[in-house]
Subunit: 411 residues, 2 copies
């Protein structure tokens, strides 16, 4: 008998029939003797409906009141779910964020969990109930409702699994798991059976949107094994777990890309101390987050500075940097919103030096110019012209033979 | 400066524009220096939508979960309302039933308020906030969400007014107040300026649906003056208050009617001890509530027993009584679902014996046969053939000259 936490997202509980289907799934495990904790999101579409209503009331809706509004969404799904379970003759109880005492800080609309009181849930589990917890929501010390931001239900599930010392945490979504790359681009993309927290963190931040990045960090911290899988099939999905020996033999786990960035270059900047802060402070003051930064030294006392910003902030950023360029006496500032970042990720590359070389070689072979390079311990990213994205992804996926199941999976 | 509690029902907050309009109204009073507590219902239609979803999950939805579901409705309106207030530059805070600590018993879907902690509301009022409270909902001692049943937001408003010792409690609705009779039947119907709690209780239970009957009882107990008025005009509505001397001069306050009942008669029942319980126990066991009961003694050891039941229960009741009739040896049992109860209500009739005589005389003059009569201290009701309802109401309204403003109102 195991204690299992299962989280179902908005598309999995989009209407009453889908809620019933999910309840069946949970009850099947309960019937096998497992203790079940279910975490639910709001019905898909509800959050957008609430945001639209709120914006009609106040141009920038008050964050505290926004959380009161948004948290009503999960209240609907958890109560309906509990009814479906009871209708089938099982016992169930719904619990909201404040009832579970999912205590958070006071950062409304993007709160962080500080503590969870697992006692009430355990009590209900021990009396034979399926416990249905509203995801995405918590409560401050003074009793105000908070929400955890987009993807917050994943975080709720992992945090509960940690607090309850659950045997597993299953995140159900509308895809079958994590793939070696985007199946829409590369027909050879293969579902990954097992991946480390660190790899998942790199993939998530790069846009593999199956799992909220915060929840992966939390899972890593508390060593909670996550199983990402599809609501609509019984197929095994992807396990996100601690690193083990067998995983190192796989050099690269996946190829990922992002088209959400734009490039900005300052050419011939006087290379004096403090120049970086004079460039980046005004950008940061405009609320724009810079991702990659590369500085090249030129002959003389000149330097070039290139960096990327979110594409949605590109026009605002260009206005800021044109002003800065005059102030600091840069010769020229240029930008390009049509770039893409292509990355290969894998824990195996830590002990293997050839990955970067292979990546550069493959891109060169395809005549793709590399504009920027950045690396982490388990990731190499290249910025290229956006139009070559798909070509680059497919070529790299082929080169690293990601379509092959090349490590034995031990469970 | 007064402390004013205002309650707005579902039709008053049916969409975001209406919520904005209501917020304007509240802010106008706040600007005058009054401390404002606003109690809101869910948007009209939401409760029905939730009930339909719940019934799709479970034929008889679990009451605890039903309350979790239903209470999400007010959560939406209070947060949107607070945003509207903040958008206009005033300060506001929304509070849910558990945050105000509106503690109730554990009778889910029809809970009764046990206590209210007014401290948090007072604190917010003293810091200059408009306090927006979710109506209709409370919380049990163990932290479960409860709801107060239909009309529960009226009860929330009156209970808060009592706990806060508010100067007035205004119930906003889609009519202008309480009328001397149904304006759809009688063009002469006049809005009543002032009415006692007791009269209102009699009118409410008879179907004048502007105010929930429980809230009137609560207002009477705590001497909370209620002002029932329209959301959509600035006209004064009806004050529901303690009786004062001036009110006695008005013999009759209103004429009301109900078409929701049906009549059942046992003819020639053996008149033995215990016969009433043998007739009414099976009806009560079937969950049917009997209203009026009349027993006539016949010659010999026989009696006739006539009573009324809710019209929706008529067919079920007839099946029950046909079985009973055989068991107790009644000669015959007959029923009539096409009846109406017409009543005149007024505190003045306590000290005046002519009201009943006048009522019987007027009905006789119009050739309307009286089937049953029942009286209370401040009410006389006659059951008649349904088809004469409108005729009877108009004739009685004319006879008691209710179209005339016949008492001076002192405020």
């Amino acid at each position: 008998m195991a204690l299992i936490v299962q989280k179902f997202g908005g598309t999995s509980v989009a209407d009453t029939d889908k809620i019933k289907a999910v309840a069946e799934r949970v009850m099947a495990l309960s019937k096998q003797g497992h203790q079940m904790v279910v975490v639910l999101s709001a019905m898909s579409g509800e959050t957008n409906r609430f945001v639209n209503m709120a914006q009609h009331m106040q141009s920038i809706p008050d964050p505290r009141e926004m959380d009161v509004l948004l948290s009503s969404g999960e209240q609907v799904t958890v109560s309906l779910f509990a009814m479906a379970v009871k209708a089938a003759g099982f016992d169930a109880v719904s619990l909201l964020g404040d009832q579970v005492k999912i205590q958070t800080d006071i950062m409304h609309t993007k709160a962080r969990i500080k503590s969870i009181n697992a006692d009430l849930i355990k009590e209900h589990l021990n009396s034979g109930k399926i416990v249905v917890v509203a995801g995405f929501q918590g409560v401050t010390e003074s009793g105000d409702i908070t929400t955890l931001g987009r993807g917050g239900s994943d975080t709720t599930a992992v945090a509960l699994a940690a607090a309850l010392e659950a045997d597993q945490c299953e995140i159900f979504t509308d895809v079958e798991g994590v793939y070696t790359t985007d199946p829409n681009i590369c027909a050879n993309a293969r579902k990954i059976d097992k991946i480390t927290y660190d790899e998942m963190l790199e993939l998530a931040s790069l846009g593999a949107k199956v799992l909220d990045i915060r929840s992966v960090g939390l899972a890593k911290k508390y060593k909670v094994p996550i199983h990402v899988r599809s609501t609509f099939t019984d197929t095994e999905g992807t396990w996100v777990v601690e690193e083990d020996k067998t995983m190192e033999s796989m050099l690269v786990s996946g190829v990922t890309y992002s088209k959400n960035e734009a490039r900005i270059t300052f050419a011939k900047v006087p290379d004096t101390p403090g120049i970086a802060s004079r460039i980046f402070n005004p950008i940061s003051d405009a609320g724009i987050v810079v991702d990659m930064i590369i500085q090249n030294t030129r002959a003389g006392d000149m330097t070039d500075m290139t960096f990327t910003v979110p594409r949605t902030d590109y026009e605002t950023a260009m206005k800021v940097v044109e002003k800065t360029a005059k102030e600091i006496g840069a010769e020229r500032v240029s930008g390009d919103p049509h770039i893409a970042k292509v990355s290969v990720v894998g824990v195996g590359m830590r002990n293997h030096s050839g990955i970067a070389t292979t990546m550069f070689h493959i891109l060169a072979r395809e005549n793709i110019n590399i504009m920027m390079i950045s690396t982490s311990e388990i990731k190499i990213s290249c910025v290229i012209n956006e139009k070559y994205t798909e070509l680059a992804v497919r070529a790299l996926h082929d080169a690293f033979e990601l379509e092959k199941e090349n490590i034995p999976i031990e469970d």
